[in-house]
């Protein structure tokens, strides 16, 4: 089960790989990382149909924002789950994300417990 994490902060990769060490080791999930919206779309488009089932994206990124990426993904790949992770947990972003079809809305600092629960739902439906 492939998950794509999108964030312009590169250390997010180290952090996520350690947080989901066990899951990755057991082979329950595999993770890939993109550092911009454009890179995320490239990765998703490289296989048809894409192998990814879930995308977690930061909202606040230079260039394409997470919300724009969300719209793009939902148009091109409606079956992929997308959840947003934002440093700004304001209503405006939340409403917009939900309207565009985001599954969940996480705020930074990330509560990894709830994130794990969300991912576990995919592993053991």
């Amino acid at each position: 089960m492939k998950i794509l994490i999108v964030d312009d902060e590169k250390d997010v990769e180290v952090l996520f790989r350690q947080k989901f060490r066990k899951e990755i080791r057991k082979g329950e999930i595999s993770m890939e990382f993109a550092f911009s919206g454009a890179e995320a779309l490239d990765i998703l488009s490289s296989d048809n149909p894409p192998k990814f089932v879930y995308v977690f994206s930061d909202i606040n990124m230079p260039g394409m924002t997470g919300l724009e990426l969300l719209e793009n993904i939902k148009t091109k790949f409606p079956n992929i789950n997308v959840s947003m992770i934002s440093a700004y947990g304001d209503d405006e972003n939340y409403e917009k994300a939900k309207e565009s079809g985001a599954k969940e809305f996480f705020t930074k600092p990330i509560d990894f417990e709830s994130l794990k629960k969300e991912i576990n739902k995919l592993i053991n439906p």
């Binding site: 250390d11 952090l15 060490r21 600092p109």
Partner: protein
């Protein structure tokens, strides 16, 4: 006979006429009139032969002697003296004739002709002297008029001088007052300027607050996350040790090492942001120090971007940094150059955002801000460019003027670019703008190495 009286009348007439210009008192004028009447009376009495001729003759002689005395001895009648000298021979001959006629009538008859001839010459003398007197008098009168005119002019000059002195004193007083007022205004303006510069600094800091908060929050999140995950890893090490899987323990140890570095790195990142903020808000002039322009530009680019992003959720722009790795460190007041960069970034992002709001929703417009640094022979060049609205040609010259702003009232102090210009100039550099309306704007800073 009777000539003395005629002469007396003539003399008195001139005395009276000259009295006006010679400041003769009223008393004298009265006497002159009485003497005149007396002379006329004697003349009439003498001619009419009502009383004996020697009696009128004596009175006439007395009267003319009195007039002669007055003319010769009083200063007031000085101007009539020449006239008197003109008639002296006439008077003398007339008196002598009268005396002889009355005392020695017989002898007089014999000498009659002599007296006539003497009287004729005396008369001519009188006429000549009279004209001389007239001429002199005219000259004197003219001189007197000139003197009066001079006196008048002097008086006018004196008045003008006094007025001028008064005017000068008043003007000087007014000027001193004005000078004091101006000095006061100047010192007030200087104080206001200092306040405004500080206010502008604070305003740009205010714009930064959200960006700074975001910039600090990110590294702090990492510090928290990495320390949390590290303690989890320590527990996992225990588990793996119990299982005896030493290879896995080694892998986890490598991760732990990386995490500690990450914690340190992000802690320092937060630290430098706080330090930068404190430096920016400090009011005093800081010293020049060797500064890495690339790092400074990168820091302020991020602060500016996140600041605007936090303020306006709908705002977004791509930013590209093209730094010359071979850029030497420059000896600059880093907080001042930081302010310049921050101003240029804020303006660039603002211009992009402004254009974006004016474009239609399906437009392909991608806001983009670009920073690049380049080492030239003796200078370094920093360019901040955007693909926003551009600066219209007619305001391009004004943008560096204090208080000039295109932003709505209350949104810009209009001091940003003006202060930036001053800061760059103070570093011996230059700040220039190029712009294509509708295409974008390029600000170029050059700083000497």
């Amino acid at each position: 006979m009777g000539l003395e009286n005629i002469i007396t009348i003539v003399l008195l007439y001139y005395l009276h006429r000259n009295a006006k210009s010679a400041n003769v008192s009223q008393q004298w004028k009265k006497y002159i009139k009485i003497a005149m009447l007396a002379a006329i009376a004697l003349l009439v009495l003498g001619s009419a032969n009502i009383i004996s001729s020697w009696f009128t003759s004596i009175l006439s002689v007395l009267l003319i002697s009195g007039v002669a005395y007055v003319v010769l001895n009083f200063k007031e009648f000085q101007n009539t003296k020449p006239l008197f000298f003109a008639v002296i021979p006439l008077i003398g001959i007339s008196i002598l004739g009268d005396l002889m006629e009355n005392i020695f009538p017989k002898a007089y008859e014999t000498w009659d002709k002599v007296f006539d001839v003497a009287g004729f010459f005396a008369f001519i003398w009188a006429i000549v002297m009279y004209f001389t007197y007239r001429k002199q008098k005219r000259i004197l009168e003219a001189e007197r008029l000139v003197a009066i005119e001079k006196e008048r002019e002097y008086e006018i000059t004196r008045k003008i001088k006094a007025q001028l002195e008064k005017d000068v004193a008043e003007r000087t007083e007014a000027l001193v007052k004005k000078k004091d007022e101006l000095e006061k205004t100047l010192s007030e303006l200087k104080a206001t300027q200092t306040q405004l510069i500080h206010a502008e600094k604070m305003a740009s800091l205010g714009e930064l607050t959200a960006g700074i908060a975001h910039e600090i929050q990110n590294p702090l999140n990492f510090v928290n996350n990495f320390s949390e995950v590290s303690s989890e890893l320590v527990e996992e090490i225990e588990e793996e040790l119990n299982k005896g899987d030493l290879d896995e323990v080694k892998v986890i140890f490598t991760d732990l090492k990386i995490n500690l570095q990450k914690i340190n790195h992000h802690g320092k990142r937060a630290d430098s942001i706080v330090k930068g903020m404190l430096q920016h808000s400090r009011n005093n002039q800081s010293e020049r120090e060797l500064t890495d322009i690339n790092a400074l530009a990168d820091e302020f680019l991020r602060l500016s971007y996140h600041g605007l992003r936090a303020k306006d959720k709908s705002f977004n722009a791509n930013f590209i940094a093209d730094f010359d790795k071979g850029l030497p460190k420059l000896n600059i007041v880093s907080q001042d150059i930081g302010r310049v960069l921050l101003n240029l970034f804020n303006n660039a992002f603002y211009a992009c955002a402004d254009k974006k709001t004016k474009e239609s929703d399906d437009s392909s417009y991608k806001p983009e801000v670009k920073i690049s640094t380049k080492k030239l022979e003796r200078h370094i060049e920093i360019t901040v460019s955007d693909n926003g609205q551009g600066v219209p040609a007619h305001i391009r010259e004004k943008i560096f003027q204090p208080f000039f702003t295109t932003k709505p009232t209350g949104q810009g102090t209009g001091l940003g670019l003006s202060l930036s210009y001053d800061i760059v100039k103070a570093h011996g550099g230059d700040l220039k703008v190029e712009s294509q309306e509708g295409e974008g704007t390029i600000f170029t800073i050059t700083l000497p190495i």
